[in-house]
């Protein structure tokens, strides 16, 4: 769910060729173009440039061709970025609002300390996705993963919603993820497809969904499907499990004797 409404896109995209350029130069150009009013940008020949989409503070559209570098959309506040392929580590690091839609897979620590906005990943993600994402007041970050996640999903999670759809898992398939929700103390995860309960984080409880949960899942999966051009009904067909933190202060007594 986008916190910020996008204004109608300008008819003509502003194309920025990133071939062989350093990220600092590219980000300065993006900043200058958006300050001049461009709101529909296309970055082509992207190859590992970091921090794309950071410090724009505007609801602009950005399409990325190529593989963006680490910390895509770090501290992002407003933009709607779509990546026509894979992304690397640290996507949406501490992002505040806007949307990251990745039409492929992404790497580790996606949504690290994220505090608002939405991240949608069509395929798989790496380790520690959603680590320490958090919510406050009306701000609820959302991550939806179409495929599966590697280990330590939602580690130290403090708030927000994290959904994993297991799109490519066989009907009775088990997610490879281990240590899900280790240290989790806030927020909620909804996972379609089986998880290996022997490897759940100690701080996590597992239960089935009630009506309110189903409405939350329906809302975010529909937005995810729309952003990525997928069929929401098919994604919602599989049963979900809810993972929740058993306590809000898992380490409250760690050093108290």
């Amino acid at each position: 769910m986008a916190d910020v409404m996008l204004s109608p896109p300008q008819a003509a995209e502003t194309v920025v060729d990133c071939r062989g350029r350093h990220y600092r130069e590219v980000n300065e150009e993006l900043r200058r173009l958006t300050e001049q009013g461009a709101n529909n940008l296309r970055l082509v020949n992207v190859a590992g440039q970091r921090y794309l989409g950071t410090n724009l503070q505007r609801p602009v559209r950005i399409t990325i061709e190529g593989v963006p570098g680490n910390d895509l959309g770090a501290f992002m506040d407003g933009p709607h970025i779509r990546v026509l392929g894979d992304a690397q580590d640290g996507c949406g690091n501490t992002m505040n609002s806007g949307v990251l839609a990745i039409h492929g897979s992404a790497g580790d620590i996606l949504g690290h300390s994220m505090r608002g906005g939405a991240i949608y990943v069509r395929d798989d993600v790496g380790y520690r996705v959603g680590i320490h994402m958090k919510e406050y007041g009306d701000t609820h970050p959302v991550i939806v993963i179409g495929g599966t996640a590697q280990h330590f999903l939602g580690e130290y999670m403090a708030g927000g919603v994290l959904i994993v759809l297991g799109r490519r898992l066989p009907p009775d398939g088990v997610h490879p993820s281990r240590y899900i929700g280790a240290g989790m103390h806030g927020g909620v995860m909804y996972i379609a497809g089986r998880v290996n309960e022997a490897f759940l984080g100690r701080e996590v409880g597992l239960m089935s969904l009630n009506e309110a949960d189903l409405a939350v899942v329906d809302q975010h999966v529909s937005a995810f499907a729309q952003a990525l051009g997928l069929d929401a009904a098919a994604l919602l067909a599989r049963p979900f499990a809810k993972l929740y933190p058993k306590t809000l202060r898992p380490y409250g007594r760690l050093y108290a004797y």
């Binding site: 590992g48 593989v67 963006p68 680490n70 392929g85 790497g107 790496g126 590697q150 729309q226 952003a227």
Partner: protein, 386 residues
């Protein structure tokens, strides 16, 4: 002042960042120049800081394929002459020359770099294989003087490294003039140990080469264990132990890369206890036998030898590693973007789980893991903004 401390001209004590790794093997044996490796590292510029870079290439010396190519670095000519005198006692030197290089702006304090194509003389202690004898001789030379080192000692392969950025070191060593079927490359950001010519990666022994990102917290334990097997650590950097450990477990003890991965990055105990009984026995036996070779701390490495390239990360993935396949070619990189940059038509890409070895072998077409599907272009006409 020691050689190493003199070359850390930034005097930086401890900085946290990353190193950049890249490697590829053409399993058909076709040879490629070093351009892809240079380009890939240059695109990951952020991962290094100019205090070290290097390349290892296999299949580059077909004219001397049966001889050991000893690459040596010497602080001054007297050290080289003394090293050469030492070599002549144990080796038949067929050809020797300075390692071809050109002066590059910004590359400073270059030592004398020389290469000897040589065969060890026949006399060796009973029970010692030729390779064991080469290891013994390399260790003897590297511990004898702190001004001269053999840093590459394999057959039909070579390591080219130094203090500088990847493009600088490539140009210095004229790396693009070599053709190999397997390349590994490294962009260094030294953290806990000095940036000096000997400390640049790859590290090598026999035909092993290792490039590494991270730090080996278990260095002391690993080093002491390796010393009981005759290895001597002289390069002042943790990575060195990985090269010697690879030689010990995979060459001398004959373990496969998959079992070696259990030695270096064993599953956690609570993972082991959930394995089927037979696998539990293997994992426990490996940990009991090779406990002191467990590499603790955050790391990814690319280990290579003649005909084989192995990528491996620590068991909880505290450093990144991406893999890709195009036809006969297997790529391993710190960042996925570098693979796409040098191979835009890449067919499969994935991120291996921590502790899981990615192996490319000459003559075996690389296969992606079971669940990885072939990459298809995203059809934008089917998308709208959500």
């Amino acid at each position: 002042m020691s050689w190493a401390s003199q070359e850390n001209r930034y005097g930086d004590d401890k900085v946290f960042d990353a190193c950049g790794l890249f490697g590829f093997i053409d399993t058909s044996g076709a040879r490629h120049d070093g351009q892809a490796a240079i380009q890939a590292l240059a695109s990951m510029k952020e991962r290094g800081n100019g205090l070290g870079s290097g390349y290892a290439a296999y299949g580059i010396y077909p004219d001397f394929a049966d001889l050991y190519a000893l690459h040596v670095m010497c602080r001054h000519e007297a050290a080289r002459q003394s090293l050469e005198a030492h070599l002549r006692q144990g080796w038949r030197i067929v050809h020797d020359e300075p390692i071809p290089h050109r002066e590059v702006a910004g590359v400073l304090d270059a030592p004398i770099l020389w290469r000897y194509f040589a065969a060890p003389l026949g006399e060796r202690p009973p029970g010692l294989s030729e390779e064991d004898d080469v290891v013994r001789q390399v260790m003897a030379i590297n511990t004898e003087s702190s001004d001269a080192f053999i840093y590459s000692s394999g057959r039909n392969m070579g390591i080219f490294k130094g203090v500088g950025h990847p493009e600088q070191i490539a140009e210095y060593h004229r790396v693009h003039e070599y053709c190999g079927y397997l390349w590994t490359a490294h962009n260094r950001f030294p953290t806990n140990t000095p940036g000096w010519w000997g400390g640049a990666h790859p590290f090598g022994l026999l035909d092993w080469s290792v490039v590494h990102n991270g730090e080996i917290s278990s260095y002391g334990t690993n080093r002491r264990y390796l010393e009981t097997h005759g290895y001597r650590c002289t390069m002042q950097t943790d990575t060195e132990v990985i090269a010697y450990a690879a030689d010990l477990v995979m060459r001398k003890h004959g373990l496969s890369p998959k079992v070696a991965a259990l030695v270096f990055a064993s599953p956690l105990w609570d993972e082991i206890q959930h394995l089927p009984p037979q696998e539990q026995r293997v994992c426990r036996a490996v940990r009991q036998t090779y406990g002191p070779l467990l590499l603790n701390g955050p790391f990814t490495v690319i280990i290579a030898r003649q005909g084989e390239m192995i990528g491996l990360g620590d068991r909880i993935r505290l450093r990144p590693l991406a893999a890709g396949i195009k036809g006969e070619l297997l790529y391993i990189s710190s960042e996925l973007s570098a693979i796409h940059l040098v191979e835009p038509a890449i067919e499969y890409t994935w991120t291996p789980l921590g502790g899981q070895a990615i192996v490319g072998r000459l003559g075996q077409r690389p296969q992606p893991p079971e669940h990885i599907v072939r990459r298809e272009p995203v059809l934008e006409s089917e998308l709208t903004y959500g």
